[in-house]
Protein backbone atom coordinates (compact mmCIF):
# COMPACT_ATOMS: atom_id res chain seq x y z
CA UNK A 1 0.00 0.00 0.00
CA UNK A 2 1.49 3.31 -1.06
CA UNK A 3 0.51 6.22 1.19
CA UNK A 4 2.03 9.00 -0.90
CA UNK A 5 3.30 10.73 2.26
CA UNK A 6 6.39 12.84 1.72
CA UNK A 7 8.75 14.19 4.35
CA UNK A 8 10.62 17.37 3.52
CA UNK A 9 13.92 18.41 5.05
CA UNK A 10 13.44 21.97 3.89
CA UNK A 11 10.39 22.05 6.18
CA UNK A 12 11.32 23.40 9.61
CA UNK A 13 8.58 21.41 11.34
CA UNK A 14 9.68 18.16 12.97
CA UNK A 15 9.14 15.00 10.95
CA UNK A 16 6.44 13.55 13.23
CA UNK A 17 4.35 16.71 12.80
CA UNK A 18 4.67 16.53 9.03
CA UNK A 19 3.39 12.95 9.14
CA UNK A 20 0.47 13.93 11.41
CA UNK A 21 -0.54 16.83 9.19
CA UNK A 22 -0.37 14.81 5.98
CA UNK A 23 -2.45 12.00 7.46
CA UNK A 24 -5.02 14.50 8.79
CA UNK A 25 -5.19 16.09 5.37
CA UNK A 26 -5.78 12.67 3.74
CA UNK A 27 -8.63 12.07 6.17
CA UNK A 28 -10.10 15.58 5.88
CA UNK A 29 -10.40 15.39 2.09
CA UNK A 30 -11.95 11.92 2.33
CA UNK A 31 -9.12 9.95 0.66
CA UNK A 32 -8.94 7.92 3.83
CA UNK A 33 -12.55 7.41 5.02
CA UNK A 34 -13.53 6.16 8.50
CA UNK A 35 -12.44 2.54 8.93
CA UNK A 36 -9.70 2.90 6.32
CA UNK A 37 -6.63 0.90 7.32
CA UNK A 38 -3.43 2.91 7.69
CA UNK A 39 -0.09 1.48 6.60
CA UNK A 40 1.67 -0.36 9.43
CA UNK A 41 4.21 1.74 11.32
CA UNK A 42 7.13 -0.17 9.83
CA UNK A 43 5.73 -0.02 6.31
CA UNK A 44 5.21 3.74 6.50
CA UNK A 45 8.69 4.16 8.03
CA UNK A 46 10.24 2.20 5.16
CA UNK A 47 8.23 4.09 2.58
CA UNK A 48 9.01 7.57 3.91
CA UNK A 49 12.53 6.58 5.04
CA UNK A 50 11.81 8.02 8.46
CA UNK A 51 12.66 6.16 11.65
CA UNK A 52 10.12 3.78 13.14
CA UNK A 53 10.09 5.75 16.40
CA UNK A 54 9.08 8.94 14.57
CA UNK A 55 6.17 7.26 12.77
CA UNK A 56 5.18 5.60 16.05
CA UNK A 57 5.06 9.00 17.74
CA UNK A 58 2.86 10.42 14.96
CA UNK A 59 0.45 7.45 15.27
CA UNK A 60 0.34 7.76 19.06
CA UNK A 61 -0.56 11.44 18.88
CA UNK A 62 -3.22 10.80 16.22
CA UNK A 63 -4.60 8.08 18.48
CA UNK A 64 -4.65 10.39 21.48
CA UNK A 65 -6.51 12.98 19.38
CA UNK A 66 -9.07 10.32 18.46
CA UNK A 67 -8.26 10.58 14.75
CA UNK A 68 -7.16 6.94 14.43
CA UNK A 69 -7.68 3.81 16.46
CA UNK A 70 -5.14 1.02 16.85
CA UNK A 71 -6.36 -2.52 17.42
CA UNK A 72 -3.68 -4.70 18.90
CA UNK A 73 -2.27 -7.07 16.31
CA UNK A 74 -4.68 -5.84 13.62
CA UNK A 75 -3.36 -2.45 12.69
CA UNK A 76 -4.44 1.18 12.77
CA UNK A 77 -7.65 2.54 11.24
CA UNK A 78 -9.24 5.91 10.66
CA UNK A 79 -11.63 6.43 13.59
CA UNK A 80 -15.31 5.68 12.97
CA UNK A 81 -16.35 8.56 15.20
CA UNK A 82 -19.02 10.50 13.33
CA UNK A 83 -17.81 13.81 14.70
CA UNK A 84 -14.32 13.27 13.39
CA UNK A 85 -14.57 14.78 9.96
CA UNK A 86 -16.80 17.47 11.43
CA UNK A 87 -14.06 18.34 13.87
CA UNK A 88 -11.42 18.39 11.14
CA UNK A 89 -13.65 20.62 9.07
CA UNK A 90 -14.12 22.91 12.06
CA UNK A 91 -10.36 23.14 12.41
CA UNK A 92 -10.08 23.96 8.73
CA UNK A 93 -12.79 26.58 9.12
CA UNK A 94 -10.91 28.19 12.01
CA UNK A 95 -7.73 28.29 9.94
CA UNK A 96 -9.48 30.00 7.05
CA UNK A 97 -11.35 32.43 9.29
CA UNK A 98 -8.10 33.35 11.01
CA UNK A 99 -6.58 34.12 7.61
CA UNK A 100 -9.66 36.20 6.69
CA UNK A 101 -9.50 38.06 10.01
CA UNK A 102 -5.84 38.81 9.41
CA UNK A 103 -6.56 40.18 5.95
CA UNK A 104 -9.45 42.23 7.32
CA UNK A 105 -7.22 43.73 10.00
CA UNK A 106 -4.66 44.71 7.37
CA UNK A 107 -7.44 46.35 5.37
CA UNK A 108 -8.38 48.31 8.48
CA UNK A 109 -11.76 46.60 9.01
CA UNK A 110 -13.09 46.48 12.56
CA UNK A 111 -14.15 43.12 14.03
CA UNK A 112 -17.79 44.19 13.70
CA UNK A 113 -17.39 45.20 10.06
CA UNK A 114 -15.68 41.86 9.39
CA UNK A 115 -18.50 39.96 11.12
CA UNK A 116 -21.10 41.90 9.11
CA UNK A 117 -19.42 40.98 5.81
CA UNK A 118 -19.31 37.33 6.83
CA UNK A 119 -22.96 37.42 7.87
CA UNK A 120 -23.86 38.96 4.53
CA UNK A 121 -22.01 36.26 2.60
CA UNK A 122 -23.60 33.51 4.70
CA UNK A 123 -27.01 35.02 4.11
CA UNK A 124 -26.41 35.16 0.35
CA UNK A 125 -25.65 31.42 0.41
CA UNK A 126 -28.82 30.76 2.41
CA UNK A 127 -30.89 32.73 -0.09
CA UNK A 128 -29.42 30.75 -2.96
CA UNK A 129 -30.30 27.46 -1.26
CA UNK A 130 -33.82 28.54 -0.28
CA UNK A 131 -34.92 31.25 -2.74
CA UNK A 132 -38.61 31.02 -1.68
CA UNK A 133 -37.88 32.02 1.92
CA UNK A 134 -37.79 35.68 2.88
CA UNK A 135 -34.35 37.17 3.53
CA UNK A 136 -33.17 37.30 7.14
CA UNK A 137 -33.54 40.38 9.27
CA UNK A 138 -29.78 40.97 9.40
CA UNK A 139 -28.61 44.16 7.77
CA UNK A 140 -25.75 44.07 5.30
CA UNK A 141 -22.97 46.56 5.83
Amino acid sequence: MHSGLLISHADARPMYLQIIEQIQQRIAVGDWPPGHELPSIRALAAETRVSVITVKRAYLELERAGVIVTRQGRGSFVAERAGLSLELHRQELDTQLAAAADLGRRLGLSADALADRLRGLAQALEDQAHPHEPAGSEEES
Partner: protein
Protein backbone atom coordinates in the same frame (compact mmCIF):
# COMPACT_ATOMS: atom_id res chain seq x y z
CA UNK B 1 13.81 -13.49 21.13
CA UNK B 2 13.58 -10.70 23.69
CA UNK B 3 17.32 -10.61 24.22
CA UNK B 4 18.91 -7.43 22.87
CA UNK B 5 20.97 -7.89 19.72
CA UNK B 6 23.79 -5.88 21.24
CA UNK B 7 24.58 -5.57 24.91
CA UNK B 8 27.62 -3.83 26.34
CA UNK B 9 28.13 -3.56 30.10
CA UNK B 10 30.98 -1.69 31.77
CA UNK B 11 33.20 -2.06 28.73
CA UNK B 12 36.64 -0.43 28.82
CA UNK B 13 39.42 -0.49 26.27
CA UNK B 14 42.59 1.55 26.71
CA UNK B 15 45.10 2.52 24.07
CA UNK B 16 48.12 4.75 24.51
CA UNK B 17 46.39 7.98 23.53
CA UNK B 18 42.77 7.00 23.78
CA UNK B 19 40.51 4.97 25.97
CA UNK B 20 36.92 3.86 25.75
CA UNK B 21 35.54 4.09 29.28
CA UNK B 22 32.67 2.30 31.00
CA UNK B 23 30.43 1.81 28.00
CA UNK B 24 26.90 0.51 28.60
CA UNK B 25 24.71 0.03 25.57
CA UNK B 26 21.71 -1.97 24.32
CA UNK B 27 20.32 -2.38 20.86
CA UNK B 28 16.94 -4.10 20.64
CA UNK B 29 15.56 -6.01 17.68
CA UNK B 30 13.73 -3.80 15.19
CA UNK B 31 15.78 -0.72 16.00
CA UNK B 32 18.18 1.50 14.11
CA UNK B 33 20.91 3.05 16.23
CA UNK B 34 22.92 6.00 14.98
CA UNK B 35 26.34 6.45 16.51
CA UNK B 36 27.55 10.05 16.40
CA UNK B 37 30.55 11.82 17.81
CA UNK B 38 33.54 13.90 16.74
CA UNK B 39 36.65 12.37 15.18
CA UNK B 40 38.46 10.19 17.66
CA UNK B 41 35.39 9.79 19.92
CA UNK B 42 35.64 5.98 19.81
CA UNK B 43 32.96 5.04 17.29
CA UNK B 44 35.20 2.76 15.26
CA UNK B 45 36.70 1.21 18.41
CA UNK B 46 33.21 0.36 19.58
CA UNK B 47 32.32 -1.31 16.29
CA UNK B 48 35.62 -3.23 16.35
CA UNK B 49 34.82 -4.48 19.87
CA UNK B 50 31.42 -5.69 18.66
CA UNK B 51 33.09 -7.57 15.80
CA UNK B 52 35.64 -9.15 18.14
CA UNK B 53 38.44 -7.45 16.22
CA UNK B 54 39.81 -6.15 19.51
CA UNK B 55 39.28 -7.52 22.99
CA UNK B 56 37.94 -5.33 25.79
CA UNK B 57 40.12 -4.82 28.86
CA UNK B 58 37.08 -5.06 31.09
CA UNK B 59 33.33 -5.50 30.85
CA UNK B 60 30.96 -7.68 28.90
CA UNK B 61 30.21 -7.62 25.18
CA UNK B 62 27.34 -9.75 23.85
CA UNK B 63 26.23 -9.74 20.24
CA UNK B 64 23.23 -11.80 19.06
CA UNK B 65 23.42 -13.59 22.39
CA UNK B 66 27.07 -14.65 21.97
CA UNK B 67 29.85 -13.49 24.26
CA UNK B 68 32.45 -11.51 22.30
CA UNK B 69 35.23 -12.07 21.41
CA UNK B 70 34.86 -15.80 22.32
CA UNK B 71 31.65 -16.40 20.37
CA UNK B 72 32.46 -14.13 17.43
CA UNK B 73 32.47 -16.90 14.82
CA UNK B 74 28.86 -17.80 15.65
CA UNK B 75 27.77 -14.17 15.93
CA UNK B 76 29.28 -13.28 12.56
CA UNK B 77 27.07 -15.84 10.86
CA UNK B 78 24.30 -13.32 11.25
CA UNK B 79 26.14 -9.98 11.06
CA UNK B 80 26.62 -7.78 8.02
CA UNK B 81 29.69 -5.62 8.47
CA UNK B 82 30.92 -2.76 6.33
CA UNK B 83 33.81 -0.50 7.18
CA UNK B 84 36.70 1.38 5.65
CA UNK B 85 38.91 -1.12 7.41
CA UNK B 86 37.50 -4.02 5.47
CA UNK B 87 39.79 -5.06 2.64
CA UNK B 88 38.61 -6.35 -0.68
CA UNK B 89 41.01 -8.05 -3.10
CA UNK B 90 42.07 -5.47 -5.66
CA UNK B 91 42.77 -8.00 -8.41
CA UNK B 92 39.43 -9.76 -8.04
CA UNK B 93 36.11 -8.60 -9.42
CA UNK B 94 33.02 -7.67 -7.45
CA UNK B 95 31.37 -10.85 -8.83
CA UNK B 96 34.21 -12.94 -7.37
CA UNK B 97 33.63 -11.37 -3.95
CA UNK B 98 29.91 -11.98 -4.25
CA UNK B 99 30.49 -15.69 -4.95
CA UNK B 100 32.91 -15.85 -2.02
CA UNK B 101 30.37 -14.45 0.44
CA UNK B 102 27.56 -16.55 -1.10
CA UNK B 103 29.60 -19.74 -0.48
CA UNK B 104 30.17 -18.76 3.15
CA UNK B 105 26.68 -17.55 3.95
CA UNK B 106 23.76 -19.89 3.46
CA UNK B 107 21.37 -16.95 3.83
CA UNK B 108 22.77 -15.15 0.73
CA UNK B 109 19.84 -13.87 -1.34
CA UNK B 110 20.75 -13.95 -5.02
CA UNK B 111 17.69 -11.97 -6.13
CA UNK B 112 18.33 -9.29 -3.52
CA UNK B 113 22.01 -9.14 -4.54
CA UNK B 114 20.91 -8.50 -8.15
CA UNK B 115 18.50 -5.81 -6.95
CA UNK B 116 21.32 -4.11 -4.99
CA UNK B 117 23.71 -4.30 -7.97
CA UNK B 118 21.14 -2.46 -10.03
CA UNK B 119 20.20 0.14 -7.39
CA UNK B 120 23.81 0.83 -6.40
CA UNK B 121 24.75 1.03 -10.08
CA UNK B 122 27.53 -1.58 -9.81
CA UNK B 123 28.70 -4.26 -12.25
CA UNK B 124 29.93 -7.72 -11.19
CA UNK B 125 32.75 -7.64 -13.76
CA UNK B 126 34.37 -4.57 -12.25
CA UNK B 127 37.75 -5.20 -10.63
CA UNK B 128 37.95 -3.81 -7.12
CA UNK B 129 41.06 -1.74 -7.81
CA UNK B 130 39.25 -0.05 -10.69
CA UNK B 131 36.42 1.08 -8.45
CA UNK B 132 36.14 4.66 -7.22
CA UNK B 133 36.02 5.24 -3.47
CA UNK B 134 32.25 5.56 -3.48
CA UNK B 135 31.86 2.42 -5.58
CA UNK B 136 34.04 0.48 -3.15
CA UNK B 137 31.82 1.64 -0.28
CA UNK B 138 28.74 0.51 -2.22
CA UNK B 139 30.38 -2.86 -3.02
CA UNK B 140 31.04 -3.46 0.69
CA UNK B 141 27.49 -2.49 1.58
CA UNK B 142 26.15 -4.89 -1.05
CA UNK B 143 28.22 -7.74 0.41
CA UNK B 144 26.98 -6.85 3.91
CA UNK B 145 23.30 -6.54 2.95
CA UNK B 146 22.80 -9.43 0.51
CA UNK B 147 22.88 -12.26 3.11
CA UNK B 148 20.03 -10.43 4.92
CA UNK B 149 21.76 -10.66 8.32
CA UNK B 150 19.87 -9.99 11.55
CA UNK B 151 22.39 -7.35 12.57
CA UNK B 152 24.10 -4.76 10.39
CA UNK B 153 27.19 -3.01 11.74
CA UNK B 154 28.09 -0.18 9.42
CA UNK B 155 30.99 2.18 10.08
CA UNK B 156 30.45 5.43 8.16
CA UNK B 157 28.33 3.79 5.43
CA UNK B 158 27.34 7.04 3.72
CA UNK B 159 30.79 8.64 3.58
CA UNK B 160 31.92 9.13 0.01
CA UNK B 161 28.52 8.32 -1.52
CA UNK B 162 26.91 10.70 -3.97
CA UNK B 163 23.39 11.95 -3.05
CA UNK B 164 21.65 9.36 -5.24
CA UNK B 165 23.65 6.47 -3.79
CA UNK B 166 23.03 7.78 -0.27
CA UNK B 167 19.31 7.92 -0.98
CA UNK B 168 19.38 4.33 -2.31
CA UNK B 169 21.22 3.20 0.80
CA UNK B 170 18.69 4.83 3.15
CA UNK B 171 15.90 3.11 1.20
CA UNK B 172 17.62 -0.26 1.68
CA UNK B 173 18.34 0.34 5.37
CA UNK B 174 14.75 1.33 6.13
CA UNK B 175 13.64 -1.74 4.19
CA UNK B 176 15.72 -3.90 6.55
CA UNK B 177 13.70 -2.80 9.59
CA UNK B 178 10.39 -3.72 8.02
CA UNK B 179 11.42 -6.95 9.74
CA UNK B 180 11.23 -6.26 13.48
CA UNK B 181 13.71 -9.04 14.28
CA UNK B 182 16.52 -7.20 12.54
CA UNK B 183 18.56 -4.21 13.69
CA UNK B 184 21.15 -1.76 12.42
CA UNK B 185 23.96 0.07 14.17
CA UNK B 186 25.70 2.66 12.06
CA UNK B 187 28.13 5.47 12.70
CA UNK B 188 28.02 8.61 10.65
CA UNK B 189 29.11 12.21 10.45
CA UNK B 190 26.15 12.83 8.22
CA UNK B 191 23.86 13.95 11.02
CA UNK B 192 20.86 14.43 8.76
CA UNK B 193 20.92 10.73 7.83
CA UNK B 194 21.25 9.80 11.49
CA UNK B 195 18.38 12.07 12.50
CA UNK B 196 16.19 10.76 9.72
CA UNK B 197 16.43 7.00 10.18
CA UNK B 198 17.62 6.35 13.77
CA UNK B 199 15.32 5.18 16.55
CA UNK B 200 18.10 5.55 19.08
CA UNK B 201 20.95 8.03 19.05
CA UNK B 202 24.16 7.27 20.88
CA UNK B 203 26.42 10.22 21.36
CA UNK B 204 30.07 9.43 21.97
CA UNK B 205 32.75 11.95 22.93
CA UNK B 206 36.31 11.19 23.97
CA UNK B 207 35.66 7.54 24.70
CA UNK B 208 32.53 8.02 26.79
CA UNK B 209 28.84 7.80 26.01
CA UNK B 210 27.46 11.29 26.54
CA UNK B 211 23.91 10.18 25.85
CA UNK B 212 22.10 7.17 24.44
CA UNK B 213 18.37 7.58 24.16
CA UNK B 214 15.47 7.45 21.76
CA UNK B 215 15.74 9.98 18.96
CA UNK B 216 12.43 11.72 19.57
CA UNK B 217 13.14 12.65 23.18
CA UNK B 218 16.82 13.27 22.40
CA UNK B 219 16.05 15.96 19.84
CA UNK B 220 12.84 17.20 21.46
CA UNK B 221 14.33 18.55 24.65
CA UNK B 222 16.72 20.94 22.94
CA UNK B 223 15.61 24.48 22.16
CA UNK B 224 17.11 27.82 21.32
CA UNK B 225 15.27 30.54 23.26
CA UNK B 226 15.43 34.13 21.98
CA UNK B 227 14.95 36.72 24.73
CA UNK B 228 14.45 40.47 24.93
CA UNK B 229 15.97 41.77 28.16
CA UNK B 230 14.57 44.92 29.77
CA UNK B 231 17.32 47.44 30.61
CA UNK B 232 19.38 46.35 33.58
CA UNK B 233 18.01 42.80 33.60
CA UNK B 234 20.38 39.85 33.49
CA UNK B 235 19.65 36.69 31.52
CA UNK B 236 17.66 34.42 33.86
CA UNK B 237 19.33 31.13 34.79
CA UNK B 238 17.38 28.57 32.76
CA UNK B 239 17.51 24.83 33.38
CA UNK B 240 19.89 22.89 31.13
CA UNK B 241 21.39 26.02 29.57
CA UNK B 242 24.36 24.98 27.45
CA UNK B 243 25.22 28.37 26.03
CA UNK B 244 24.14 31.97 26.50
CA UNK B 245 24.94 34.71 24.00
CA UNK B 246 24.01 38.30 24.77
CA UNK B 247 24.08 41.16 22.28
CA UNK B 248 22.79 44.43 23.73
CA UNK B 249 19.33 43.64 25.06
CA UNK B 250 18.90 40.50 23.01
CA UNK B 251 19.98 37.14 24.37
CA UNK B 252 19.96 33.61 22.96
CA UNK B 253 19.94 30.69 25.38
CA UNK B 254 20.50 27.15 24.12
CA UNK B 255 19.04 24.61 26.53
CA UNK B 256 19.02 20.83 26.64
CA UNK B 257 16.13 20.66 29.11
CA UNK B 258 13.41 22.72 27.53
CA UNK B 259 9.87 22.60 28.93
CA UNK B 260 7.01 25.11 29.02
CA UNK B 261 8.26 26.00 32.53
CA UNK B 262 11.15 27.82 30.85
CA UNK B 263 8.76 30.41 29.45
CA UNK B 264 7.08 30.84 32.85
CA UNK B 265 10.46 31.44 34.44
CA UNK B 266 11.22 34.11 31.85
CA UNK B 267 7.86 35.76 32.48
CA UNK B 268 8.56 35.87 36.23
CA UNK B 269 11.94 37.51 35.50
CA UNK B 270 10.09 40.04 33.27
CA UNK B 271 12.02 38.87 30.26
CA UNK B 272 10.17 38.61 26.94
CA UNK B 273 10.49 35.37 25.01
CA UNK B 274 10.65 36.48 21.40
CA UNK B 275 11.01 33.07 19.77
CA UNK B 276 11.66 29.43 20.62
CA UNK B 277 13.32 27.28 18.00
CA UNK B 278 14.09 23.60 17.70
CA UNK B 279 17.59 22.38 16.91
CA UNK B 280 18.73 19.91 14.31
CA UNK B 281 20.86 16.97 15.42
CA UNK B 282 23.81 18.70 13.77
CA UNK B 283 23.32 21.80 15.92
CA UNK B 284 22.86 19.66 19.04
CA UNK B 285 26.06 17.80 18.18
CA UNK B 286 28.08 21.02 17.86
CA UNK B 287 26.51 22.63 20.96
CA UNK B 288 27.23 19.55 23.10
CA UNK B 289 30.83 19.12 22.03
CA UNK B 290 31.59 22.85 22.23
CA UNK B 291 30.11 23.26 25.70
CA UNK B 292 31.97 20.20 27.00
CA UNK B 293 35.26 21.48 25.64
CA UNK B 294 34.68 24.91 27.20
CA UNK B 295 33.87 23.25 30.51
CA UNK B 296 37.10 21.30 30.37
CA UNK B 297 39.15 24.40 29.71
CA UNK B 298 37.78 26.10 32.81
Amino acid sequence: MNEPLIQLAGVCKAYRFFSLTDVHLRLEAGQVMGLVGPNGAGKTTMIRLLMGMVRQDRGEVRVLGHPIPEGQALAKQDIGFASEEMRLYGQATLGWHMRLVRDMRASWDEGYAAHLLCHFNLHPDQRVRELSHGERVKAMLLLALAPRPRLLLLDEPTTGLDPVARHELLVELMDVVRDDRRAILFSSHHTQDVEQISDVITFLDRGRIVESRDKESFVDRWRRVFLDLPAGTAVPALPGAVSVTTTGRAAVVTTREYSPAVEEMCARARVTVRDVQRLTLEEIFVATVTSQREEQQR
